[in-house]
Symmetry: C2
Subunit: 336 residues, 2 copies
DNA sequence: CTGAAAGCGCTTACAG
DNA sequence: CTGAAAGCGCTTACAG
């Protein structure tokens, strides 16, 4: 039985094949300038010994690790709650990384200690680049890493000044289309349940609502949630207290919209007859709510893929645009 | 602006502090045998230069990477579908790894090429150990890595002979309790929707059903699904064709149970009056189905945590039991 | 096309 | 307690 620490090295392969370590290295790395007979002798020796290059040794000289970190500044519970947002991001990133033969290191944390670990890990050059999803507030870490020369791309337009390239979706355009749809269908008291106001997604969606309402004579009616189902249910209750006559609500996430629907139903309002509801996300399940949810579709999987693609370009030394904004789209179903 | 490749090395710190590299290394790694004045001089230099040890260089000599791989032999789409199984495993693993200050490398793949990458990556010693979740059929990779001396722990009792330590739940005990519950409540024609028969979870749950029925005079009525909602709906339809009089069904996963409920409702059967339904998993959503689902609870988060704990023990050179089996428990709600 | 040699940035016996 | 030196396992100019 072979031991853990007796794995064959380049040296062993070179000896068996009767060539130098340099030559073995060239063959293993597919350099074209090795003569055919030597090449196959080396291949045989590699095969026979089951040689696999040591990653650390290779990284030390090439300065590459072929892996990248995806940082989710959230607790793992949040990341893997029933909200499919993060899973979709991970899924999209993973697709592109697979295609590029890079590995994915997943870092989830919402603690200060965890964040420090992220910093140490990434600046120790364990990874070739770092992706941030869904940062809260003004997050200094992406900028810091970027200044250290580390390839970084973030998801969502950063709050505050930042030179870090980002990928985002057109929150405002999507929300305006949603609110316009409510206006066009004759709704007069249009409320909103906004997302957390320390995140761009929360801020921009509220801004979109306000912007579209501004053109009409309707006043705004606002409650704020945190993107969870429960917060949507609670916020809906508040809105109905604020304005029992409201006849429409734009909700800044599908999950909150589900919560809002539960509340409306409990209070005996018909959807959409009494109150029209529009969500934001277009999660799969929103097709199956009762009634099916009218919502703004944002391409989350594609967002993940684009993040990864941009980062791979930065790593390859290519120029990337400072921002990529993916389109959103109103999907009309039965709830509004 | 500092450049990517100009990060300070041990050498630089040593020069600034006026000591040898060995001493800096000792201070950085917290060795106790460095005199206090020197220690603080080194600390200052580290601070001033923003020194972070290079991970590859360190790994090369220590043979440790402080990261471990979690291999999910499934497509990313499957892992991040609406099935919360994998997310919970990841969550549990991540919790324990965080506590141990190790990083998580996530590898998802159901392609041959992908599997080869997993093999190369892990045997290249990119990670200190490997966790496998939910293998299909007789999977040779865990055993191979184990024989190479790589720390490995798998989730689910391996099919075929294997010396690799595993963590599993008590499928059979849980299923027997479920079927017994159906028998005790006077059900006479008890069908089952089994899981995939190339996975231990599928095989054992069917075995538990058969074992418990054997003690009674009931015959078995079996359909097979693949743990998805859709397959549950289809299988339920088949079962009702096979035996229109059936009055109970044990379904080997909650998601399939949800599918079965949809079918039963479409065909006008009342639950539990006409047909009692029991699931397996106890996902959160199963509390909210109509009616709330009676099901066998398996501790998935804990399974993930235990996997990580066992692996960390193996890595630390401790002895671990060849198998850890976590208990399952029948949770009676309204559906049966 | 091939090899000898330097070097990537650390850790760790070994001496003193 | 501290340092000089060897060595971890590779890659890559540089010569030839």
């Amino acid at each position: 039985m072979s031991q853990a620490h007796e794995r064959p090295t380049l040296e062993a392969v070179a000896r068996l094949a009767g060539v130098s370590r340099a030559t073995v290295s060239r063959v293993v790395n597919g350099s074209p300038k090795v003569a055919e007979p030597i090449r196959s002798a080396v291949r045989r020796a590699v095969e026979e010994l089951g040689y696999i290059p040591n990653a650390a040794a290779r990284s030390l000289v090439t300065q590459r690790t072929d892996s990248i970190a995806l940082v989710l500044p959230e607790s793992a519970s949040r990341v893997f709650s029933d909200d499919p947002f993060f899973p979709s991001i991970i899924h999209g990133v993973s697709q592109e990384l697979d295609a590029a033969d890079k590995q994915l290191v997943l870092m989830m944390t919402n603690t200060v200690g965890g964040y420090e670990r992220v910093e140490r890990y990434t600046t120790a050059r364990h990874v070739d680049g770092v992706l941030f999803a869904s940062t809260h507030g003004v997050d200094p870490l992406p900028g810091q890493l970027h200044r250290l020369g580390m390839p970084v791309v973030v998801s969502g337009r950063p709050l505050g000044r930042s030179a870090v390239p980002y990928v985002d979706v057109d929150h405002i355009g999507g929300v305006r289309a949603a609110v316009r749809h409510l206006l066009d269908s004759g709704r007069s008291r249009i409320a909103t349940i906004a997302g957390p106001q320390d995140m761009v997604a929360g801020i921009d969606r509220l801004a979109g609502y306000r912007a579209e309402l501004r053109g009409s004579d309707r006043r705004s009616i606002v409650a704020v949630g945190d993107f969870t189902r429960e917060s949507g249910a609670t916020a809906m209750r508040q809105l109905l207290e604020d304005d029992p006559q409201l006849d429409a609500v734009f909700v800044a996430s599908d999950l909150m919209a589900h919560g809002a629907i539960t509340t409306l139903r409990e209070l005996g309002r018909r959807i959409p007859e009494d109150v029209a509801v529009v969500g934001f996300d277009d999660f799969d399940i929103s097709r199956y709510t009762d009634p099916p949810l009218t919502t703004v579709r944002q391409p989350i999987l594609e967002l993940g893929r684009e993040l990864a693609r941009q980062l791979l370009r930065v790593i390859a030394g290519e120029e990337v645009p400072p921002a990529v904004v993916l389109p959103t789209e109103l999907v009309v179903r039965a709830s509004a």
